[in-house]
């Protein structure tokens, strides 16, 4: 479990990092927190000619609230997000989801940009990005562009980022005051990638639900925005029957695969169970 030989670069700026990505023409890998990349190198599953280590670009680590949006530098550690007062106040769903990310040592190294760019469909952050209709900013030799989750996630571990593009920022719209939220997850052990996770947010308007947001993790090759299930809640309200109907609909919207941890059927079943639990908890929390 030793990686094959590779070049190592630690640029000090984003421009320098992008220039290196261009130079290696798709044969370089960006090293962020290294929680997935390092094992892949050691297993020789990833064999890049070079690593571009972006840990020494200080401007890539920040949490900024601006005009109803919270922006995260790609290199913001999960541990920072876990304890960020801005996140606790404006994005409590992200805060709750962070508690499900790996273990303390993993969160201490892992970054929000790394988790999203790695695009493991079982990870928590891609699901939150999807549920909250966030976006990512990527920078390449042709400048910057912004991608929505549906444009970003293609399939397992694959995004639409070009090989010479670097994910530099993650933007999430701040949650409405009083919005209810919950992140429900089932994993075989604490800290494992989700077998299924559900991110939920509801905004209540009296007995009605004005906004429902639902996304799944682990139930298919990409995080799935469960729009048709949201619509049931927005149409029929937040009573038990509507929640069960939305949960049943959610299970139809996902296309999970079987693997060594769980069968597709069990994942579909969990999608229903966890959607119902997440919505109920979100409703209880909403004001």
């Amino acid at each position: 479990m030793k990686p094959p030989r590779f070049d190592y670069h630690a640029p000090a700026s984003v421009d320098e990092a992008v220039a290196l990505l261009v130079r290696y023409g798709g044969d370089a890998k960006v090293l962020a927190g290294g929680q997935s990349l390092m094992p892949m190198l050691n297993f020789r599953l990833a064999r890049p000619a070079a690593l571009v280590d972006v840990n020494r670009i200080p401007v890539l680590a920040y949490v900024r609230e601006d005009d109803g949006t919270v922006a995260f530098g790609a290199m913001t550690r999960q541990r920072t997000i876990e304890f960020s007062p801005v996140v606790a106040r404006r994005l409590p769903l992200l805060h709750e989801a962070t508690r499900w990310v790996g273990h303390l040592p993993i969160r201490s190294r892992g970054t929000i940009g790394g988790s999203i760019a790695h695009a493991d469909p079982s990870a928590e952050y891609p699901a939150v990005l999807t549920a909250l209709e966030g976006e990512v900013v990527v920078q390449g030799p042709r400048g910057r562009r912004t991608l929505r989750p549906a444009e970003l996630f293609e399939t397992y571990l694959t995004t639409s980022l070009a090989p010479d593009e670097l994910l530099v920022e993650v933007r999430l719209p701040a949650m409405a005051a009083g919005a209810g939220y919950a992140f429900e997850e089932f994993a075989r052990r604490h800290g494992d990638f989700a077998i299924v996770g559900i991110a939920a947010m509801v905004v209540r308007d009296g007995a009605r639900c004005s906004v429902a947001r639902l996304a799944s993790a682990g139930a298919g090759p990409v995080p799935v925005r469960l729009r048709a299930a949201e619509q049931i809640l927005e149409r029929d309200g937040l009573g038990e029957t509507a929640i069960e109907a939305a949960a049943a609909r959610a299970a139809e919207l996902v296309s999970p695969d079987s693997d060594v941890h769980a069968s597709a059927d069990y994942r579909r079943h969990l999608t229903r169970v966890l959607t119902a639990r997440a919505v109920k908890r979100a409703v209880d929390r909403s004001r």
Binding site: K2, R5, F186, R188, R189, I195, V260, A262, L274
Partner: protein, 810 residues
């Protein structure tokens, strides 16, 4: 009886300071050997294939490469390992003409460092002709199954039908017969430190020195010597003082000792190989997966009359010694804690295209008790008797110890009913049942399980021959095997300091602490006054075939040897003092670290004083007394006899007992299991250090929990390993650990010097049973009984779904 101020106390571990501050000496920290080169192993990507040839030219041309050893070199230089069956299975340190499991070594590349070695390993070309694979032991015995070993002609490595008493009559006379089929998964131990070997060949002396984290049994030393065709006294095994866990797995490192030894001899450089985690999961060792068919015959009142065991044990691509211990290691305790006399065992040992197996904590007792304890619950259910009551009616009574089991075991001591009662009292069993009834009334699925187990320690080498036919064993040229021995030396230096020397290869069990407690008690010292050296070296230590730390030996046999060595030395000091004081030795006694008159006042000699005089002035010794202050004791069990013509064998030497109660709740929606209560009561005789014992119980319980819920070396039908990383092979962590309520009952062993028994495997053998019983009890309203482990959420979900479908369709 002498006072024992230290035995029985939770003395802090001598080892912890160095281990917790990163100062241990593990194989990878081993002092440098000059010009050390590093090995990477080329392994088969195929489960079953012919090896047509090797192309090593590209690898040899790469940077830093010293040389390559292939299966062709191994075939030329080595003899195959001896195997425990008569079938002609030829097992070498690498594949020779055929690979039989994914990960089987086919070549070794040696380079200046491990990175370069791994680069070059990728460049070794091996020409394979892929063959169909079989991984399921039942399919492997079907007529059209691919045959792994042409010379054997079948995938059955061995088969024995053992009959004790008259099982046919017991079944004919029974009021009720219960039958069930079980599956037990293949899982290992994943010690934090993987295998590691350093081999150096000295062509001048003709000595091959092999450092490794091998844990014994040292019967593997002559085995490796034979494979390498070296005289035994030219093969030196050294084991550093620290091994990072093993749980049985590191007894199976020995093929690599031969492989790295050969590589060092062939390439003329010292070679180091540290197994990485991928190699470990892929190809080190594990317990067997088993398919079992069980039958129990009983009277209407619940009295068990007899049992039938039938199983297929899957040993993987070859049968690697000490297998088929998977089938026969528990022979003496096949009946567990129950007093029935009639038993039939139909054991098939099957080879398939999976990795190889060997001892894994509890060595097949996890399998045995999972099946037996599930059967006791099924019988209780059939007869409408409480699971506690049915066990109580069948327990071996307290007044019948030592108890000879029908299979030849000699249970040395115990009070099974008192231990069961203790577990029920701690768990508040009746209250638990009331709580369960309340929970059920509100739609919750709460269940209570029990498990009882006889916990065997110190294997008798003789059990291995149970695998052989009695006719074969009756041949004059057959040499029987038996025994379990351990040695220790205690010495006093010229200024009175005490050193105890062992060669027991501990893997974290705390032998230094335990020995310091024992010697302190024997010599009237404090543990910190005793230095304990535990580094194995076959050239300098006193050892024998059965030496090593496995089979929960040390607490039973190692402690006996240490206490006896200290007593020998004490006797010598007394005799010497009697001579100095010119009084009869009977008038003297040893206390408070010195020799005193039994009655009255008068001069006393401290150990320091006696040591000084004895070392510095040998003229002061009485006539005939051997100079020097050291004593070596070799302790051996006389109850360890070879297997008899009726296949009876006392397969262990001391036998503890475990009684457990567990309460669980199953969430039907997520198909997950939550442990609400877990009580475990042990009888391991005299307890030397309760803290160490508690650690062993926790570790054993979590190991069992791994097999019950999480861990499985799972393969697809083509023989590819599906759980080859820690992302997929799930080991329970601290977060998954339940709170464990531990208590003890003490029935000292009459066979050991201190009355102690082993306890290292402990609850690893009961947790699969107790949690399966608890989950089955929880799901009884749905008609679900657990017969297969691990109980993964997906499997449980399937059972729940099928049960609900049965309910809804009339």
């Amino acid at each position: 009886m002498a006072s024992r101020p230290w035995i029985g106390r939770s003395v802090p571990r001598v080892e912890d300071g160095r281990l917790l501050t990163g100062r241990g000496t593990f194989i990878d920290d081993h002092p440098p050997v000059a010009n050390l080169c590093h090995a990477a192993i080329v392994r088969s990507p195929h489960a079953h294939a012919r090896v047509l040839g090797y192309d090593v030219a590209a690898a040899l041309a790469m940077e830093g490469v010293v040389g390559v050893v292939t299966g062709a070199d191994v075939a030329q230089a080595c003899k195959p390992f001896g195997v425990g069956v008569t079938a002609p299975v030829h097992y070498y340190p690498t594949a020779i003409d055929r690979v039989r499991f994914v990960g089987e070594p086919v070549a070794v590349v040696v380079a200046r460092d491990r990175y370069l070695a791994e680069d070059a390993a990728e460049a070794v070309g091996v020409d394979y002709e892929v063959l169909p694979a079989v991984v399921d032991p039942e399919k492997a015995l079907e007529p059209d199954a691919p045959i792994l070993h042409d010379k054997v002609g079948t995938n059955l490595a061995g088969h024995r039908r053992l009959v004790y008493g008259d099982p046919d009559r017991a079944f004919a006379e029974a009021d009720v017969v219960v039958r069930e089929r079980f599956k037990f998964p293949k899982y290992g131990s994943t010690p934090i430190e993987t295998y590691g070997v350093i081999a150096r060949w000295d062509p001048i002396d003709g000595v091959l020195t092999v450092w490794s984290n091998f844990m014994g049994p040292f019967i593997m030393h002559p085995l490796v010597a034979r494979v390498l065709q070296l005289p035994e006294n030219r093969l030196r095994f050294i084991v550093p003082s620290d091994i990072g866990g093993s749980f049985g797995i590191k007894s199976s490192i020995y093929p690599y000792l031969a492989l790295m030894g050969l590589t060092a001899m062939k390439l003329g450089v010292p070679v180091k190989w540290i197994e990485d985690r991928r190699e470990h999961l892929l190809a080190s060792s594990s317990g067997t997966d088993r398919v079992a068919w069980r039958e129990v015959a009983a009277r209407r009142d619940g009295t068990v009359l007899g049992m039938r065991f039938k199983w297929y044990d899957n040993v993987g691509g070859y049968i690697r010694s000490p297998e088929p211990g998977c089938s026969f290691r528990p022979t003496g305790n096949f009946v567990g804690p129950y007093r029935f006399e009639h038993l039939e065992v139909d054991a098939s040992v099957v080879m398939t295209n999976k990795s190889l197996t060997g001892p894994n904590r509890g060595y097949a007792c996890g399998h045995l008790y999972f099946e037996t304890e599930r059967m006791m619950d099924l019988l209780a259910e059939r007869l409408g008797i409480d699971p506690v009551e049915i066990r109580r009616r069948n327990l071996i009574p307290a007044d019948s110890f030592p108890y000879r089991t029908p299979t030849g075991g000699l249970y040395d001591s115990g009070d099974y009913e008192a231990t069961l009662d203790r577990a029920l009292a701690v768990a508040k069993y009746d209250e638990l049942r009331r709580e369960q009834a309340e929970a059920r009334a509100t739609g919750r699925h709460v269940g209570i399980g029990l498990a009882l187990a006889v916990d065997p320690s110190v294997s008798n080498m003789g059990y291995v021959a149970t695998a052989l036919d009695p006719q074969f064993r009756a041949k004059p040229e057959y040499l029987p095997k038996s025994g379990a021995v351990d040695a220790a030396t205690v010495k006093i230096d010229p200024l009175g300091r005490v050193i105890a020397i062992l060669g027991t290869t501990p893997q974290g069990q705390g032998h230094q602490t335990i020995v310091s407690q024992i010697v302190a008690d024997e010599l009237g010292l404090e543990p910190r006054d005793v230095t304990v050296v535990d580094e194995m070296d076959t050239f300098t230590r006193v050892w024998s075939i059965s030496s090593g730390t496995y089979s929960s030996r040390f607490g039973s046999i190692g402690t006996s040897a240490v206490a006896l060595a200290a007593r020998k030395l004490k006797a010598k000091l007394l005799a010497y003092a009697a001579h100095l004081m010119d009084v009869p030795v009977e008038e003297l006694e040893f206390r408070d670290g010195g020799v005193h008159r039994r009655v009255g006042k008068g001069a006393a000699y401290s150990i320091k004083d006696l040591a000084g005089r004895a070392h510095w002035n040998t003229e002061s010794l009485p006539d005939g007394m051997e100079p020097g202050l050291q004593a070596t004791a070799v302790f051996g069990f006389t109850v360890a006899k070879s297997v008899d013509a009726q296949d009876r064998v006392n397969s262990s030497n001391t036998y503890g007992f475990i009684a457990e109660v567990m309460a669980v709740e199953v969430d039907l929606d997520t198909a997950s299991i939550k442990i609400l209560r877990y009580v475990t009561v042990h009888d391991a005789g005299t307890i030397i250090n309760p803290m160490i014992v508690e650690g062993q119980i926790y570790g054993g319980a979590l190991h069992g929990l791994g097999g019950a819920l999480y861990e499985e070396l799972a393969y697809d039908d083509d023989g590819q390993l599906l759980t080859g990383t820690f992302m997929d092979y799930l080991v329970p962590t601290a977060t998954e650990a339940p709170e464990i309520e531990i208590e003890h009952v003490v029935s000292p062993s009459p066979l050991t010097t201190l009355g102690s028994k082993g306890l290292g495997e402990s609850s690893s053998m009961t947790v699969p049973a107790v949690i399966a019983n608890a989950v089955s009890d929880a799901l009884k309203p749905l008609g679900i009984g657990i017969t297969e482990l691990p109980m993964t959420p997906t499997r449980l979900h399937e059972l729940i779904r099928a049960a609900r479908a049965r309910r809804s369709s009339p």
